[in-house]
């Protein structure tokens, strides 16, 4: 008998007999409906408490703010999505105060050392955020591959205020995650960090040292 069948049979032939299935009441996870302003306030408080940075922008002003943020960090380049409107807007902005714009349009195998060693910052979209925990929802795609939000030392994410959910439970229900998930989905709540050395917090241990959220109101 295969190991699979051995294990399954042992579980099915349980000596204690059938187990009763308890009811699960998820209402403890639900929150009163917060207003958009409350959600933004909570999101900001939570993500800042874990070293994330938040800037309030509008659809017209975010590129200006982005340029300032990148300049203040001396970023030489910025990795942008190819097809997403974020990438389109940046390429069509016609500004001279933005760093070199890079596009992730080749398989990782062909430019891994470059991505790991030469890219200073990246910008991605989000599929919304979660106020209660200060989290961003990211579903990487071929346009915004997985490593975009992980490898560069600065990750900038655009979040529409209208897409802020109150809780994770609410977000997954509203977005119908149970119907099917992409190859990779993420909740990102702050920059990469560790407390493995004597409980002292240090940022950027493997992923970005900085997470900057531009909230579009």
């Amino acid at each position: 008998m295969s190991s699979r069948d051995t294990i399954l049979q042992r579980l099915r032939d349980r000596a204690g007999g059938e187990l009763t299935v308890p009811e699960c009441d998820f209402s403890v996870l639900e929150r009163d409906d917060w207003s958009t302003a409350e959600r933004i306030e909570r999101f900001e408080k939570m993500i800042e408490s874990v070293h994330g940075e938040v800037h309030h922008c509008t659809g017209d002003s975010w590129i200006e703010r982005l340029a300032e943020l990148l300049a203040s960090r001396g970023a030489r380049n910025l990795l942008i999505p190819r097809a997403h409107e974020i990438g389109q807007s940046l390429r069509n902005a016609g500004r001279n105060d933005l760093p070199e714009l890079l596009i992730y349009d080749e398989p990782i195998e062909s430019w891994r050392p470059h991505l790991f060693n030469e890219v200073d910052a990246s910008i991605t979209s989000t599929r919304g955020g979660i106020a209660e925990t200060g989290s961003l929802i990211l579903w990487p795609t071929d346009d915004e591959p997985r490593l975009m939000s992980l490898v560069p030392p600065v990750h900038i994410a655009l979040l529409k205020a209208s897409e802020l959910y109150t809780t994770f439970h609410e977000a997954m229900k509203a977005q119908e995650w149970s119907a099917g998930m992409p190859t990779n989905a993420l909740l990102v709540s702050g920059p990469s960090k560790t407390a493995d050395i004597e409980q002292t917090l240090a940022y950027g241990v493997h992923g970005p040292k900085e997470l900057i959220v531009l909230i579009i109101e």
Partner: protein
């Protein structure tokens, strides 16, 4: 010699718990490192649950886990079906050795020489690193704590914070000696150095091995909880990702995950959520530009299906590996994780390890507790750990006729002398005449009572028998 027997020679003797505990208690550095870390973790957990109806949330957590366990075989089949549809290859391993061989075979088929690892307690259970090394495959830990522990040639002393037993100075010296970094107490510098060293390894590794926090049957999704990003690196950068997990980690729905995640991170480190919650549902698709081309899941039994047979012991399988029980354990805080000599230390280790290594080898584990109950009070899925400790104590001395002998090594600690003493005790208490004679005789001979009674009187005064028995005094009063 069979190929399974090769990697058992470096085992720590679990039976030597007492001398190790004794040494740890008298080591001020261990005492200080654990005390300060556990104090911090306890207060952070408390703060993180402020404003929550914690009892109701724990009730939900327990029910979610029980529901999953009640349907375990069906859920595992559903998970396998969904993962296979998603392009993830599923393997089954009866024990750790078989799981090691599965990982090796995947590596060999790809001609892989180097493996980079994310944190996985099941891989510690399998002793995977040691096994792969024997097979000529380099296995490198990438979680900073695990990396430090591996550099030191040690094992984790805590399931969430593997290097909690070391302070900054010790880590600085270790990294200096093994990797050539400068001697420095600057944690930022040490962390940045590790980042540099490990980035090179991520880029060149042939295979990434990770654990799994929750496996979701309805969508075929493997969920990983982490702060560092090494888990994402491990599961994204190398061309092949192998996830290893215990069969009990499957849950039916994503909704279940939302409840368990709310409990897990707050219980573990007092975080409302970890930096990354990584949900993997498939290998790289044709149009994607990164991610592994192959993803495997190894479902490891290793004793779990035995635990599953018994209604009471089953609760052990609810565990979501948050470590809150050890953070709140007065014994763990004083002796540290290494004293136990087991993969899982602390209260959860005391109720889980006897099943994995047998009650013979693990005979001292269920007794290494004051039964204060703190572990059961903080457990996010309400595992009655103190009750299970008592059950295992009973099993270890064969003292319980109510349950069938379930645990391997049942009765290993039974002493004929102790059994006889208790039998005599029961006999005496069941016959009034004998009882009066016995207590009367003991009272008369009280001068002969020894003033020391082994370890009990090391820090306590021996109790003295009263000059008169209770019966005598009652008699005097009624006269």
């Amino acid at each position: 010699m069979s190929e399974t027997a090769g990697h058992t020679d470096h085992h720590i003797d679990v039976k030597q718990f007492h001398p190790r505990a004794q040494a740890a208690i008298h080591n001020p550095k261990i005492r200080k490192n654990f005390r300060s870390a556990m104090d911090g973790l306890m207060s952070k957990r408390k703060a993180a649950f402020e404003g929550w109806d914690l009892e109701t949330l724990r009730e939900l957590g327990a029910n979610v886990r029980l529901r999953a366990l009640a349907n375990l075989p069906d859920l595992l089949e559903q998970l396998e079906k969904k993962l296979t549809e998603n392009g993830i290859k599923v393997h089954w391993a009866v024990d750790g050795d078989e799981a090691c061989r599965i990982v090796r075979d995947i590596c060999k088929a790809r001609d892989a020489r180097t493996v980079i690892k994310g944190k996985s307690m099941v891989s510690e259970e399998m002793e995977l690193n040691h096994y792969l090394q024997e097979q000529g495959i380099e296995a490198l830990e990438s979680d900073l704590g695990e990396y430090i522990v591996q550099l030191a040639g040690e094992t984790p002393s805590h399931i969430i914070m593997p290097a909690i037993h070391k302070n900054t100075g010790e880590i600085s010296e270790l990294m200096h000696e093994k990797t050539g970094t400068d001697l420095s107490h600057d944690v930022e510098y040490l962390t940045a150095s590790a980042r540099q060293q490990l980035r090179e390894k991520f880029m060149s590794a042939d295979v990434g091995v990770s654990g799994v926090n929750f496996a979701v049957a309805e969508t075929g999704t493997l969920c990983l909880v982490e702060n560092e990003g090494n888990g994402r690196m491990t599961t994204t950068v190398p061309p092949c990702h192998i996830a290893v997990t215990g069969i009990e980690k499957v849950v039916p729905t994503m909704e279940d995950v939302s409840a368990l995640l709310a409990l897990l991170t707050r219980s573990a480190t007092g975080q409302h959520i970890t930096t990354y919650f990584n949900m993997i549902s498939g290998p790289r698709k044709a149009d994607e530009l990164d991610g592994p081309e192959e993803v495997h899941l190894v479902l490891v039994d290793n004793g779990r299906s035995s635990i599953y047979q018994d209604d009471e012991l089953l609760d052990t399988l609810r565990c979501i590996r948050c470590g809150a029980c050890m953070n709140h354990c007065p014994v763990y805080t004083r002796v540290g994780g290494h004293a136990y000599g087991t993969t899982y230390p602390g209260p959860i280790g005391k109720i889980l390890m006897p099943h994995l290594i047998g009650l013979d080898e693990g005979r001292h584990l269920p007794s290494a507790s004051s039964l204060c109950g703190a572990c059961g009070e903080v457990c996010p899925v309400k595992i009655p750990i103190p009750d299970l400790l008592v059950r295992l104590r009973q099993e270890s001395v064969d003292g319980d006729k109510l349950h069938p002998a379930r645990v391997n090594g049942h009765g290993a600690k039974r002493s004929p002398m102790e059994a006889m003493v208790w039998k005599g005790w029961a006999w005496m208490h069941a016959s009034p005449g004998l009882y009066r004679f016995g207590t009367g005789a003991a009272t008369k001979l009280r001068a002969l009572q020894p003033s020391s009674a082994g370890a009990w009187t090391n820090y306590r005064t021996a109790p003295k028998l009263a000059a008169k028995t209770l019966h005598q005094r009652m008699k005097e009063r009624s006269q």
